[in-house]
Amino acid sequence: MAEEIKKRTTYLSRGALKPRAYVGDGLKVTFRTLVRTTIHRPNTIQYPWETLVKPECYRGRPGITLETCIACSKCVKICPNKCIEMVPIDHPTLGKVKRPQVNVARCMMCGYCAEVCPTDAMIVTPEFELAAYTRSALMYDPIKLQHERKPGYIVHSPMVTPSEMKSGRTDSHDKGDMAIKDTVQLDSRKCISCARCSKTCPVGAITMTDTGELNPKTNKPVKKPVFDDNKCVSCEQCVDVCPKSCLSMKEAM
């Protein structure tokens, strides 16, 4: 087969040009193209006047739904171009909250922010005509970043763990599945029971619970954080905020 293809496609035999392969095939293909483009139309799209039909899953600029966002700032961490930043806004219904702001001038439309978003608040929109006259106009604050939702705008990234692939299973995990979720681990010897992690947690997955011990100095019960892994979104904010570095992420894979 390969030998036959090679024989057909090479246009030299012993240093001389083969008429059929060098001229004949080319003439045939180009003439077919000429006839097709003359009867129908060339492949070119005349862009400002015509546009291609964009699929719903087209990855343009990111968009957001402010109500479902939980300000976990996973999008800030994943962004390869570091163009997302959490900014405080004053929302009529939500009050004073932090929401992501995207510098679209620096965005490369990879859609990772929507891929990692635990609540699918971040979506990719089919908007790609983003030219503006100033750089500040390209700084999309959370209000400007809002966009209507359609099912196709949500980015799904089903995963299969390597161990499952080895064992021959083909069923995949969506984001948030316990099999692929990173979890938080506590080194309780270092913990000083400051409860910052439970205050920081955007989903309320951390509760300070009694351990049954008493503090020998103050005679008050000692509380340690307990993590609800089903609620956790692996946003690592508690890890970042811990003053004694007693929290760490345990990677699932």
Partner: protein
Amino acid sequence: MELHFDYSGLYEFLYSVSSWLLWLVGRAFEFIGVDSDNFFYPVRQFLTDQQFVYFVALILVALIYLVAGLLFGIQFIWMERKFLGRFMDRRGTQVGFLGFFQNFADAFKVLLKAVIIPKDSDKRVYQFAIFGILAVSFMLLGLVPWDNNFYAVNVPLALLLGLAVFSLAPFTLILAGWSSNNKYTVIGGMRGAAQLIAYEIPILLVVVSAVVMTGTLNFAEMVAWQQNNVLLFIPLFIGAITFFIAGVAESERIPFDLPEAESELVEGWQTEYGSLGWGLIMAADYLRAYIVCVLFSIIFLGGWAGPDFIPGSVWLLTKAAIVFFFMVWLRAATVRIRTDQLLKFCWNRLLPLAVINLAIAVLIRVYSVGWW
């Protein structure tokens, strides 16, 4: 002076027009009182002289022929852009109505550019080379007739003269390449000269076979022979193919564009030329392609021979455009070949074909002169 219009040829017509105009000028001089004893009488005599009338007519013919030829050459550029676009599944040029104004826009753009002459070049030769290649192309332009009535000159040995002028081109290529003082241009010029000289020979042999068949070197008589007998394309089919391929090589077009291979030599022997100089060289390039097409259609396709409801020159230009379409098609379909393949192809394939074609022509001429 007798007023007398002769519409039989472009030259005769313009001679009548200019003689009429200058006769009016003479009358005007007479009216304002320039007589034989006047100081300005020699001027009047000069303006109404027979030789001066000839001169004015010649200039008018040259102008009209140049403008007509250049316009058609420009139309060839449009055709190439548009057809090449369709061959490559895209739209060609789109400036103005169907892209007709692209060439004019390009011409104006080139016209407005600064003239830059390389510091280390041989300046006089560098500039002469432009005029050399232009002169060669425009001279050919004047030699090929469009019709029985539309021609600039009608000399008995027009074909011979045309091919002699055609073979002057390698000389200017080498001059241009050498005087630019640049490696690319020198290599391009050398390649161009080697290629043009090599492909001259099959062309000459094929033309000789056409001359053997028709027994004349004059374009008009050649076309008349074909009108009376048969289009030379039919008996000399091999020769027509050979002439076409060699003609593509002569006009330095893909797949024989080695002298200006962009991927190796930037722009070949034209690399150092800019602004209007480059524009004129480009125009001359297309004029040479146009001349090859017109020569092909005169020698093999019967020139302006065709049904009478369309004027003869239109027939000729249509045939030339069809030949050029095949050139564009070949350009779209093939890739550039190597220098050794180029010369091998010429000496090992085209030359034998041309000789075979000549033999066929001689045999036909000897054995069947009666019915062809």
